[in-house]
Each structure stands twice: as structure tokens, then as C-alpha cells.
């Protein structure tokens, strides 16, 4: 046991035992960057490079004089939970890569572990320049303490909210300073994979004088849109204000043209109103953005400056028209997602956040519900830029726990501060359409829970009265009650609602499709949406959503696979008559309920959703043949094990279940050039046509028609023997630097370049040049093993390498080798 009373992982024990500050395992790819340049004036100066890291505990690690030269050097963002653990020599099967069978979180955290970690960074500040210096962390998981030059400057417990500290009083006179950060991810504190450490960006703000703009004090609101003219209000908060300063604001469009400019005498809170003619509005289809540059000036000298991107849009909800964006009725085509990035863990690289949003947008999603935490600024920026609406959720629990060591232990002390930070730091993101105060909250209908709901909802409304407040309600929503005039939402006094929903503006329903109609009849004032839903109900849900204005959308659980909550999706072949599918256990590591798999490829449910949302006119999948004597049972969040494949290891003639999803009214099937079936599709078929087709190697072709016109065609072929590994780089802007990620897929293909549907060859990748391998792995939900070794077995023919840029421009060469297959190589230039 550690001094904290929590069991330590083996790595910590090893380090503690020898009592030295040493790195337990050599880094798979040691960081090369160092930041030696003296830091001068400026906001948002990246502070990610050249940190020293020690995984484990120890004394005196906060001391400025500590010799940390033996510590590992790395660049942020960093997540130690995804890094390899020291193998357990006495129990070799226990630990595989970052996965430990004895993890405290077990399936909740995907058998990963937390522990404690220390970060230290030395930096030089230009002497006599700074009036104030602040360090800004976007997120540290979790319960972190921070020191500057040996002085403790703060503790922050919430692992998902940003925080900042004033370093000024403790800065060294000679300009040489040291920051130390201690992060603790202890016990069983999350229901999903959280990651550990400084997993988001860190910034340094150096302002010339104590007078400064409030970090999150600029609020930009679209008040109205009339005849193309947008009326905008901007509030800017200023601190430590001496007389004689001016606040200047300039609004530019995406092309950099100035749309408005204005100055006012600086006060603690400056309000400016402006109009933009022919405003280019933000919407999911046209996500136009503007930027407000706010400056604090003394005469012609600028003391502080901040850029705030924002969108001009009006979001409204009512039961008659549902949700409107700038007056246009809009359904939330949504997906719930967790914040990890699979094989790179939770490290919130901008490129990883952008890729996740791009993957979802390409599949027709126009909305996400980041579950059940505030996501990174980079993620929200990606949603702003790509046009994906966000329900920003603050909490997964309040006072009552879901796991023994979770945030409930801090909630009472911290919720006001955390909620304030969440709303103020994120309120200018055009993509955020609602604030959620909680997900499936235990105790919400007890008297104290009802009062807390009211407090949370009204705290949000005080901070941002322009957005609706919601929560995700599962199960029983409390008894029917009437709220008083004083306590009610505007216009809601005297109406009846349930105690869980009475103080919400828009109601989120988790898994309650069967209640929708009855609840609408009983509570006609409600606007609601499916805040979580089962994938297999997607067609029934969407039919109801499209015809019901009061039902404004749905968020499937989930849009993308994630680490943790292992094995809640998928299916299993079990002896016929088995009543129930058993719970998943080791070696399940990912949830496997996503439309998109852990490395970004479409799964069967995603193909079906493509048809549901009009991304595709036709998709075809074949159910994996059940082993003799078995039948397929789905997990609650599961989907049948279907593949768009006509390559199956069965005898010719074996009947196979073929499923064609289409928005057409007729489907025809051809096998090896001969038409074998034609099926009419009616509304009662819910866009699905089932066929039973005797297997014969060759080509299965499905053709969809509407009104006699072909609208889609899909061809599944029997693939040849594995012949080669193929590397392909995803599109990237190819910038250099330690934040730059390049995704390279590794595929097992036949001689014609077709992916082997069941390809599971072990592939070894190596990287040379101006990049390093950050991770390599597959989407296999049971693939315990290292993501850092450069070796992984393909799963369903695919694996993924993530290449991190170096601190200099140059060529990167990636090679892949698999026994018995032709090698592959790709090269690209960064910078």
C-alpha cells in the first residue's frame, strides 16, 4: 500500500523500493525536443515541450533543486496510462502492454491503470518583461498539485476542467524557473478510460502589466438576426485595472476582413454592441466563423490581447417546430463519444481531435454528446470549424458515487468552481447548443438532489442565459410535481412535470424509446431528444424523430469505439438456447459499441446508419456464419456480427444471411452474374431487406432501385490469398512539429489490393526520419498488448500507425513487414 492508502501498480512498487528517481521503462520513442529560448511577452505561448516525467511517487519532487536529469524527457500532451507496464515476471499472463488483469477499474477502464506521476519543466523568462505570468492547463487527470520554484500554487481535482495559476509572486529573479506538477489517478475513479497525467495542452501567458483581460471573460452573443443583419453583444472582463486604459475590439471574418471595430474606456466589465450586415451565419452545413480580437491598451501601447473565435447563430427550441438553427428546423443526428483516442490514449493532440470530428462528420453526424465530461478546446474548435453541434456535459455524477473513488468525493467542494470554469471557458464555441448538468445522476430525485438540480440549472443560466440546460435522464424520472412561480423556469410555473425534469429546458432521454409517445401526450410542453440509445433501435428511433417536431434528435451510444466499458457491444455465438450473454471480462478492453471502430474504420452499424441518414443509398452486409449448434446473441449495445464480405470459410451451398440496407423501394441480388432474388422494400421494412443466399465463391452484387431507377449498387467479392501489406497515409496538412500527427493505415491485401476481411497477420512497422511512432495497434476489442512496440496483429485486415512529428521539418519513411507477405513503404514530408 502506498502512503495514500491506495494500492500501487508494480512499476510504482519497483521505483519506491529502490528509492531513486528513475524511469521504469525506456520510452518507446524518447522525446527529442527541448525548449531553451527565453519566454517573452504574449498570451497562449505553447508550454508543451521539454518536460521531465517520472511515473510513481517520491519525496522532494516538488523541490526546485532536485536533480531530475535521470527522468524521462517528453513533450505534452502525455497520457501515461496508455504506456507499457513492466511485465509481471511471476505472472506473465497478467500484464500485456498497458493492460493489467488486476486493474482496479477492470472492464470500466479497459484493464488499464492509473497511479501517480510527476512532471517538471525548467523555463527561462526574459527578465524585466513580465507584469504577470500565468500558467494555464487545459486538463490534468487528475487531482493535481502544482509548484513554481518550490512554492505550491494550487490543487485542482477535476480531471477534465481547465485551470490556471498566477506564477508572478514566486518567479525567480534571474529568470530561471521550475514548474512541478503531481498528478494522481488513484483507485477506481472512472467508469471509462480516463487516461493519466497532463493529457491536454499547457500554455503560458505573459502580460506586460498586472492589468489584463480575464482569461475567460470575453462573452460574445448573437442577440438577433433581422434581414441578414446580426446584432451582437460582446462583454469583456478586465482585472487589476488602473485608470486611463482603453478596451479595443475588432471583429474579422474568416478572410481577415474587418467587419467592426470599436473602443471604450476600460472598466471591470465592458459591454459593446455591434451589427454585422449580411452576416455569414454558423450552422452545421455552413460553419462560418468570425474572430473578435480584444485588446487592452494604454494609449497606443497594447498591454494584452486575446482572440475569440465565434459564430453568429440563433438556436431555439419549441414543441411546434422542434429545434431550429437560424430559423431552420434541424434534427440532431447525434452520437455519444468518449474522449480517448484509442491506441494513443487520451492525449488530446489537436490532430487527433480534428480526426475524430472528421470521421463522425463524414458519416452524417451533425451532433455529438461528449460523454460525460467537458472535452478539450481542440475538440470544440474542430466542432466549430466542421459544423458539428455539441451538448456540453459537465458531470456524470453529483454527490452520490458511481465508482468508489470518483468525483463525488470532490463534488461538494468543487462543483460551483468547476461549473463556472466550464461555462465561461467554453461559451463562445458556436458548436455548443446546450449545457448538460448531468448524466444518469444517482440521487437526483431525493429532496437534496432535486434542489441541487435547481442550483445547477440556475447556475448555468446565470453564467450563460442564451443556451438551454439539459440532462440525460434514464429510468424513472421521479414523481409528477408542480413547481412554484419562484422556482420555475420562465413560463413553466404551474405546469406539471417529473421531479427529474422540472427544471430542465430540454429533456434528454436515455434508452426510453418506448416512453416517447406516452410522455409527449402526458407532458406536451416538453422538447426532448434521445440522449443515449441502443444502436439496434436506430431505424425505429429515426422514423419517430423525423415525424415528431417535439423530438429533436438522437444520440446513439456510441458513435465511435472507446477504451473502457469493455465489451458492452458486439455479439457472441453461444450454444442454442443460452438465455443470456455473459458479461465481458479480460481480455476485453474496448466497449465495441461504436459505429466506428477504435482506429477509425466503419463497423456494420455505421454502414446501416449511412443509409439511415442518406450518406449512402445502399449497403450490404453478410452475417458471420454461426458455428454449428450456436446462435448469435447481441449485447445490449450490440449489433450483429456482419461484414461487407463475400469471403467466408464455409462449404459452398451453406445458407448465409445477407442484409441489404437501402432507402430504395426494391433490391435485387445477383450471385456470379445471375439474379437470385428481388425484394420490394416498403416502409414497414425499415430500410432493411433480409435474404438467405447459398454461399458460392465469386461476386455477390446488390442493386437498389427507387421508382424503377437504380440508386445504388454494391459488390462483395471473394478475396484471394493474403499477398502483401499495404500502407496508406490519411490526408494531412503535413505540418511539422510535435503536435503534428500523421495516421498511416496498414492493411493486409490480396494480389489485387483487396483487403483481407479476416486478415490477422502480425505486422511490424518502423519509422525513420522526421517523425516517430506514437502508437501502432488494431481495433480488436480483445487485443491486449503494447501500442508502443511497433508490432501488432491486424484485425479484420487492418491496423493503424500514428506518427508524431519531430521538432524539425523533414522526410518521414514508414515501412511495414509481415511474415510471408510483400513489404510496404510510404514516405511523406513534414513541414
Amino acid at each position: 500500500m502506498s502512503k495514500t492508502g491506495f494500492p500501487l501498480d508494480r512499476r510504482e512498487l519497483l521505483i519506491s523500493a529502490v528509492g531513486v528517481a528513475a524511469t521504469a521503462l525506456p520510452a518507446a520513442a524518447p522525446a527529442k525536443s527541448r525548449s531553451t529560448k527565453a519566454i517573452s511577452l504574449g498570451r497562449n505561448q505553447a508550454f508543451n515541450l521539454g518536460w521531465r516525467f517520472h511515473r510513481g511517487i517520491g519525496d522532494g519532487f516538488d523541490a526546485a533543486a532536485l536533480d531530475d536529469s535521470g527522468w524521462r524527457t517528453l513533450d505534452l500532451p502525455h497520457d501515461w496510462s496508455i504506456e507499457d507496464l513492466q511485465p509481471d515476471a511471476g505472472d506473465p499472463a497478467r500484464i500485456r502492454g498497458p493492460f493489467d488483469q488486476k486493474s482496479a477499474g477492470r472492464t470500466d477502464t479497459g484493464f488499464t491503470i492509473g497511479g501517480e506521476g510527476w512532471y517538471r519543466k525548467r523555463f527561462q523568462l526574459e527578465k524585466s518583461k513580465a507584469g504577470r505570468v500565468e500558467i494555464h492547463f487545459e486538463g490534468v487527470y487528475m487531482d493535481s498539485d502544482v509548484w513554481i520554484n518550490g512554492h505550491k500554487i494550487g490543487n485542482h481535482r477535476n480531471g477534465y476542467t481547465p485551470f490556471a495559476y498566477d506564477l508572478t509572486p514566486f518567479l525567480a529573479a534571474d529568470g530561471n524557473n521550475l514548474i512541478a506538477v503531481h498528478a494522481r489517478n488513484l483507485g477506481h475513479n472512472a467508469r471509462w478510460y480516463a487516461g493519466s497525467g497532463i493529457y491536454r495542452n499547457v500554455w503560458l501567458d505573459v502580460t506586460a502589466e498586472p492589468a489584463r483581460l480575464d482569461r475567460w471573460g470575453v462573452q460574445i452573443v448573437t442577440r438577433r438576426l433581422v434581414d441578414g443583419i446580426a446584432s451582437i453583444e460582446i462583454e469583456s472582463a478586465v482585472h487589476d485595472l488602473p485608470p486611463g486604459l482603453t478596451l479595443h475590439t475588432r471583429v474579422r471574418d474568416a478572410a481577415g476582413r474587418t467587419m467592426w471595430e470599436g473602443s471604450a474606456p476600460a472598466t471591470a466589465l465592458v459591454r459593446q454592441t455591434l451589427s454585422i450586415a449580411a452576416a455569414r451565419l454558423w450552422s452545421p452545413d455552413q460553419p462560418n466563423l468570425y474572430t473578435a480580437t480584444t485588446q487592452l491598451r494604454r494609449g497606443s501601447r497594447t498591454l494584452d490581447t486575446m482572440d475569440t473565435p465565434f459564430g453568429v447563430r440563433v438556436i431555439a427550441f419549441d414543441t411546434a417546430t422542434g429545434m431550429t438553427v437560424n430559423g431552420v428546423p434541424t434534427k440532431l443526428r447525434g452520437g455519444c463519444i468518449h474522449h480517448d483516442h484509442g491506441i494513443i490514449g487520451s492525449a488530446a493532440f489537436d490532430d487527433a481531435e480534428q480526426r475524430k470530428v472528421s470521421l463522425l462528420k463524414a458519416r452524417g453526424y451533425n451532433a455529438v454528446r461528449p460523454s460525460h465530461i467537458p472535452f478539450s478546446p481542440a475538440f470544440l474548435r474542430a466542432c466549430d470549424v466542421q459544423g458539428v453541434m455539441v451538448i456540453c456535459e459537465a458531470f456524470d455524477l453529483w454527490r452520490e458515487p458511481k465508482t468508489p473513488d470518483d468525483f463525488s468525493t470532490f463534488f461538494e467542494r468543487d462543483w460551483k468552481k468547476d461549473l463556472d470554469t466550464i461555462v465561461r471557458s467554453m461559451r463562445n464555441h458556436a458548436s455548443i447548443v446546450m449545457w448538460s448538468i448531468g448524466n444518469e445522476i444517482p440521487g437526483r430525485d431525493k429532496p437534496a438532489g432535486i434542489e441541487l438540480q435547481w442550483q445547477l440549472a440556475n447556475a448555468v443560466h446565470r453564467l450563460d442565459p442564451t443556451r438551454a440546460v439539459t440532462a440525460a435522464i434514464h429510468g424513472f424520472a421521479g414523481h409528477v410535481a408542480t413547481t412554484s412561480e419562484k422556482a420555475s423556469r420562465a413560463g413553466a410555473a404551474g405546469t406539471t412535470d417529473r421531479t427529474s425534469t422540472a427544471f430542465l429546458d430540454v429533456i434528454g432521454y436515455n434508452y426510453k424509446l418506448a416512453d416517447y409517445e406516452a410522455d409527449h401526450a402526458r407532458f406536451p410542453q416538453r422538447v426532448f431528444y434521445g440522449s443515449e440509445s441502443f444502436p439496434k433501435e436506430m431505424f425505429a428511433i429515426w422514423e419517430k424523430t423525423e415525424k415528431s417536431p417535439w423530438l429533436i434528435g438522437d444520440f446513439v451510444w456510441t458513435a465511435m469505439d472507446y477504451l473502457g466499458e469493455a465489451g458492452i457491444g458486439g455479439s457472441e455465438f453461444l450454444p442454442a438456447g443460452t438465455p443470456r450473454i455473459p458479461p465481458s471480462c479480460w481480455p476485453w478492453i474496448n466497449a465495441y459499441c461504436g459505429d466506428i471502430d477504435l482506429i477509425g474504420n466503419q463497423k456494420a452499424a455505421s454502414f446501416a446508419r449511412d443509409v439511415l441518414w442518406g450518406v449512402s443509398a445502399l449497403e450490404v452486409a453478410v452475417q458471420r456464419p454461426a458455428p454449428e449448434g450456436t446462435e448469435e446473441l447481441l449485447r445490449f449495445w450490440g449489433w450483429s456480427d456482419e461484414l461487407p464480405s463475400w469471403t467466408w470459410p464455409v462449404e459452398p451451398g451453406r445458407p448465409l444471411a445477407v442484409r441489404a440496407y437501402s432507402a430504395g423501394d426494391k433490391i435485387a441480388l445477383e450471385l456470379n452474374g445471375r439474379q437470385i432474388a428481388v425484394r420490394a422494400l416498403t416502409p414497414s421494412d425499415h430500410k432493411l431487406a433480409d435474404f438467405t443466399v447459398p454461399y458460392a465463391p465469386g461476386a455477390l452484387v446488390a442493386i437498389a432501385y427507387r421508382d424503377g431507377v437504380e440508386i445504388g449498387r454494391r459488390r462483395l467479392e471473394t478475396i484471394g490469398a493474403p499477398a502483401a501489406v499495404r500502407l496508406r497515409t490519411e490526408r494531412s496538412d503535413r505540418s511539422a512539429g510535435r503536435q503534428a500527427l500523421t495516421y498511416v493505415s496498414a492493411e493486409v491485401v490480396d494480389a489485387q489490393g483487396r483487403i483481407i476481411p479476416e486478415g490477422d497477420h502480425e505486422i511490424a512497422v518502423s519509422v525513420q526520419g522526421a517523425g516517430e511512432l506514437l502508437a501502432f495497434g488494431s481495433a480488436n476489442p480483445m487485443a491486449v498488448g503494447s501500442y508502443r512496440s511497433g508490432k501488432a496483429k491486424a484485425w479484420r485486415g487492418r491496423a493503424l500507425a500514428v506518427i508524431r512529428g519531430s521538432d524539425h521539418a523533414g522526410k518521414v519513411i514508414v515501412t511495414a513487414h509481415a511474415e510471408g507477405l510483400k513489404d510496404s513503404m510510404v514516405s511523406f514530408r513534414l513541414g
Partner: protein
């Protein structure tokens, strides 16, 4: 068009719960468990619910789930049994206030 405004409410006052009768699909499991007479009815007709409520993973859900909600994760409650349970529960006085 105007951006809707959601002004904060003036002050907290507890909602007034309307009178209701106990039922398996209209009360949380926790409320029924807290009422010995009601819980005896549940155990008489659905003995498995006694087991389900002892599972650590489900304990945190008892406030927010009805017996029928739990049936999603186990054997479904047939309508006839539900009607019988509800008829007996309706004879038991409820507290008439939010838990």
C-alpha cells in the same frame, strides 16, 4: 429572430409532488424497498428482484429505475403479473412526497 433567453429562476422552492399510488412501473425500486409492505408484494411476485437489488452494479441505480426498467436487463415482466402487482400496491398508502 431573437436569441431565446433562459433567465435564472428567483429562488428555490421544492416542487409539490402530486398524490400518486404505488406501482411497479411508477415508483423507483428504492421507494418500494423503503416501504416494507410494498416490497413484500414485489418479492412475492418477482422474487428475482431481491437478487437484482443486491448486485453492487445495480445498487447505484435503485433510485432511478423502476422494476420494469430493470426488466430490460433480465426477464421481462409480463403484463398480467404487472397488473396484479400494481393492484396490490395500489392498496398500500404512499408517502405522497418526493423521496
Amino acid at each position: 429572430m431573437e436569441t431565446p433567453i433562459y433567465p435564472p429562476a428567483a429562488a428555490y422552492e421544492a416542487p409539490v409532488v402530486r398524490p400518486y399510488v404505488l406501482s411497479a412501473d411508477g415508483c423507483s425500486v428504492a421507494e418500494l424497498m423503503a416501504n416494507p409492505a410494498a416490497w413484500a408484494v414485489m418479492l412475492k411476485y418477482m422474487p428475482s428482484i431481491g437478487f437484482i437489488t443486491q448486485i453492487p452494479e445495480t445498487k447505484k441505480l435503485l433510485d432511478n429505475m423502476t422494476v420494469v426498467d430493470f426488466a430490460v436487463f433480465g426477464p421481462p415482466v409480463d403484463p398480467k403479473t404487472l397488473a396484479t402487482i400494481n393492484a396490490e400496491l395500489a392498496q398500500i398508502p404512499s408517502t405522497g412526497a418526493a423521496r
